[in-house]
């Protein structure tokens, strides 16, 4: 730094590096599922979903209808909760004394209660299984979600009015860390970072997985790729998630929650249909979903054994950090904090 101005920015990471990719090679496919919620601990459901979809792609299992709906509901709830944290802490970096964060965390708590109702855990859910979901949702889940969906939309629009039109937040984040559309694509950014720069690319629309092709929603896009637009995109996505959840709530079908697997020996809880040890055929698969931070992909190479031969996680937070130096050099210290806030990284995912 030279006085207030930042001359050079160096990223020192690796403090939370648990070498998940090495550990995963020692454990069977089902044992690896808990790893995936600990990479992006703010969006555990989407982590599980991505890994499970990769293995299903490898073994060509087709998941029953109700499991698709349950996965979509859980993924969208997780996106809303994760964006609550992201938007709140961004406003915090702009200097508000934790007021917006507290309000948003209060909403996030309600969603975590829903998770607890569905799968017993609030943060590290470990809810999805290869071929379906581990448990069906209790009868009082949908009514609880319905009441939540009644009150959340106007609360989010209240946050939008309070934060997006706030004179000081506009002054603090407008024009900071601007990335053009071409740069965003070249730096292979994804999620709100990419859409903030104006590129309308959302994997839920481009490559619809689970039940996303049956629901109606829009992609939120910013126009001039600065910290303010990424913040606006996240707020708009929260509203879209609520819209998806309403449609899922009344379109969900009854039926089995887990695919019938061929070598079914030991069965999991409830209506057990999956074998404890899964041996996918030799080959490789790359499956990716739209996690709240971007394109979360799992590249699995299998050699027919019980454990994956190579287990690679394409972490959006890690790759979204590539242009960090370009964004912060030249700005002041106060801006550097806002830039990091707008990138919205989760260190567990950056370091894997």
């Amino acid at each position: 730094m030279d006085g207030e101005k930042v001359i050079d920015a160096e990223m020192i990471i690796g403090y939370l590096h648990r070498s998940m990719e090495k550990l995963a090679e020692e454990r069977t496919y089902t044992q690896n599922i808990p790893f995936t919620d600990r990479t992006d601990y703010l969006a555990a459901m989407t982590g599980n979903l991505a890994y499970v979809m990769a293995v299903e792609k490898l073994m060509e299992i087709d998941v029953p209808e109700r499991a698709h709906w349950l996965r979509t509901i859980m993924a969208e709830l997780q996106r809303f909760a994760s964006h609550c944290m992201a938007a709140g802490t961004f406003a915090n970096d702009c200097g508000t004394w934790q007021t917006p964060v507290m309000h948003m965390i209060r909403d996030r708590e309600k969603i975590l209660d829903l998770f607890e109702m569905a799968c017993g855990a609030r943060l590290t859910t470990n809810y999805m299984r290869i071929g379906g979901v581990s448990r069906d949702i209790p009868p009082e889940f949908l009514p609880a979600m319905a009441t939540l969906l009644k009150e959340l939309p106007d609360r989010v629009s209240e946050y939008e009015d309070l934060l997006l039109d706030n004179e000081i937040i506009i002054a603090r984040s407008r024009g900071i860390a601007v990335l053009t559309a071409e740069e965003a694509i070249a730096y292979s950014l994804s999620g709100p970072m990419l859409r903030g720069s104006g590129v309308a690319w959302d994997l839920r629309k481009a490559d619809p997985y689970a039940a996303y092709d049956k629901v109606e929603f829009d992609i939120a896009v910013g126009t001039n790729g600065d910290a303010y637009d990424r913040f606006a995109v996240r707020m708009a996505e929260m509203l879209q998630s609520l819209r998806i959840l309403e449609q899922c709530a009344d379109m969900i079908t009854e039926g089995p929650i887990h695919a019938r697997m061929s070598t079914s020996t030991v069965q999991p809880v409830g209506d057990p249909v999956a074998p404890l040890v899964i041996r996918p055929p030799e080959g490789e698969a790359y499956a990716r979903i739209e996690s709240p931070r971007g394109e979360l992909g799992f590249y699995i190479v299998s050699d027919g054994g019980p454990a994956p031969y190579r287990f690679h996680i394409r972490a959006p937070s890690f790759i979204n950090l590539t242009p960090l130096k370009k964004m912060t050099v030249g700005a002041t210290i106060a801006d550097a904090v806002v830039v990091l806030g707008s990138v919205d990284i989760v260190v567990g995912e950056v370091d894997r």
Partner: protein, 418 residues
């Protein structure tokens, strides 16, 4: 003014003090003894009041901000958490005051004291009641500004001696802001002094009592500028860039711990009390309330107003995000200062006409009030637009929603769907 000026007339503690002084003289003490005695009693009284209200206000502030955050706030220590302030004080006392090896020992030790003194000395001038002002300087208001300017040195000493890069940046930021907002503060006070005609605090209060009008009704612009400049000087919420947690850990008092940090913490609160006191005296009619002070003791009215203004500061702290240092500077130089020049020009003209023609106050003051209010609102909008506030660049905007996959909406990328 007090109906019965006996010593037991508690509407104004000044009477008791006066009676005490005569008593000492009767006992044949030399003439300077009563001054010393009353001085000490008054100082001890103010200090006690300050400490007690600080402890209460630590609790109130954290409680109010807690409620704003939709959480409860401190309720562990003592009934309803009331002893939170005391707990903080004891904690700070017991904590070990670490001095880093590479610090500049003498300055590092002197800085907290140097910050604490101005925060205390300012109270010599603030009138709590009709007779209750420690030293009735007839340059009272100027004294307040002068003492305010001293803590720039103390801030620099703290930042420089703790030999820590962020502390120095914090100190430099604070100095830059103090200097630029001192000008605004002086001009805001100038407007008031021109209209009242004297710098003595008691005259200011007296003038507002006689004309049965509060100064902020006549000069809103001066009040707004004074509050903003005060917020910056005391470095509270929207302008707490010098100890912004997210950027500079704790600004110039990063290296301090234990009771030294306690001094900084207390100094910040006392400075805010002093600021609220001056705001109340200058703009909100000090200890008068349209004749109510005949019955209700003057200093109680003064304290309620003071705490009300303090509440506004807490409210600002709970809601407003922080401005960047250069935005704060441009705000002061390019916006507030010009408004203050215009304000003084207008007020000067008004008082000139008023004094020359010799109109009586009742007719002319409402007219001045209206003129100034219209002027204030018009000026703020006009000047803001001139500085580019109304333009789309600074308007809040939602994200655009689209169904078109792969389309590019970037302003620089030409039409969508590229």
């Amino acid at each position: 003014m007090p109906i019965l000026a006996e010593w037991y007339d508690f509407r104004d503690l000044g009477n008791a003090m006066g009676a005490l002084q005569d008593q000492i003289l009767d006992w044949g003490a030399p003439d300077w003894v009563p001054y010393v005695v009353s001085g000490i009693i008054a100082v001890v009284g103010i200090l006690l009041w300050l400490l007690v209200s600080q402890i209460i206000f630590i609790w109130i502030e954290r409680r109010v901000i807690g409620l704003m955050h939709n959480r409860i706030g401190p309720n562990r220590v003592g009934p309803m958490g009331l002893l939170q302030g005391v707990a903080d004080a004891i904690k700070l006392l017991l904590k070990e005051a670490v001095t880093a090896r590479a610090t500049d020992k003498i300055l590092f030790w002197a800085a907290p004291i140097a910050i604490f003194i101005p925060a205390m000395v300012v109270f010599a001038v603030i009138p709590f009641g009709e007779g209750m002002v420690l030293s009735d300087l007839n340059v009272g208001v100027l004294f307040f500004v002068a003492i305010g300017s001293i803590n720039t040195i103390a801030v620099f000493a703290a930042g420089w001696s703790s030999n820590n890069k962020f502390a120095l940046i914090g100190a430099m930021r604070q100095i830059a802001m103090l200097i630029s907002y001192e000008l605004v503060q002086v001009f805001a006070i100038l407007g008031v002094v021109i209209m009242v005609g004297s710098m003595r605090m008691q005259d200011l209060v007296g003038w507002q009592a006689d004309n049965d009008v509060w100064m902020f009704a006549i000069q809103p612009l001066a009040l707004v500028a004074f509050i903003i400049a005060g917020l910056v000087e005391v470095n509270r919420s929207p302008a707490d860039t010098s100890e912004a947690e997210s950027e500079l850990i704790a600004g110039f008092h990063t290296e301090y711990s234990g009771i030294k940090f306690g001094f900084f913490y207390a100094a910040e609160y006392f400075a805010t009390f002093a600021l609220c006191g001056v705001i109340v005296t200058l703009f909100l009619g000090g200890w008068t309330l349209w004749g109510v002070e005949e019955w209700v003791p003057g200093f109680l009215i003064f304290l309620t107003k003071l705490y009300a203004v303090f509440f506004i500061f807490i409210w600002a702290r709970g809601t407003l995000p922080r401005l960047r240092i250069d935005q704060l500077m441009t705000f002061s130089w390019k916006f507030l200062l010009e408004l203050m020049f215009v304000n003084i020009l207008v007020v000067g003209l008004e008082t000139l006409i008023w004094r020359e023609q010799g109109y009586d106050a009742a007719t002319v003051l409402p007219i001045f009030g209206v003129i100034n209010w219209v002027l204030a609102i018009g000026l703020v909008f006009l000047w803001a637009r001139m500085l580019g506030h109304g333009t789309p660049r600074t308007a809040g905007k939602r994200a655009t929603l689209t169904q078109e996959l792969g389309a590019i909406y970037y302003e620089g990328a030409g039409s969508p769907g590229a």
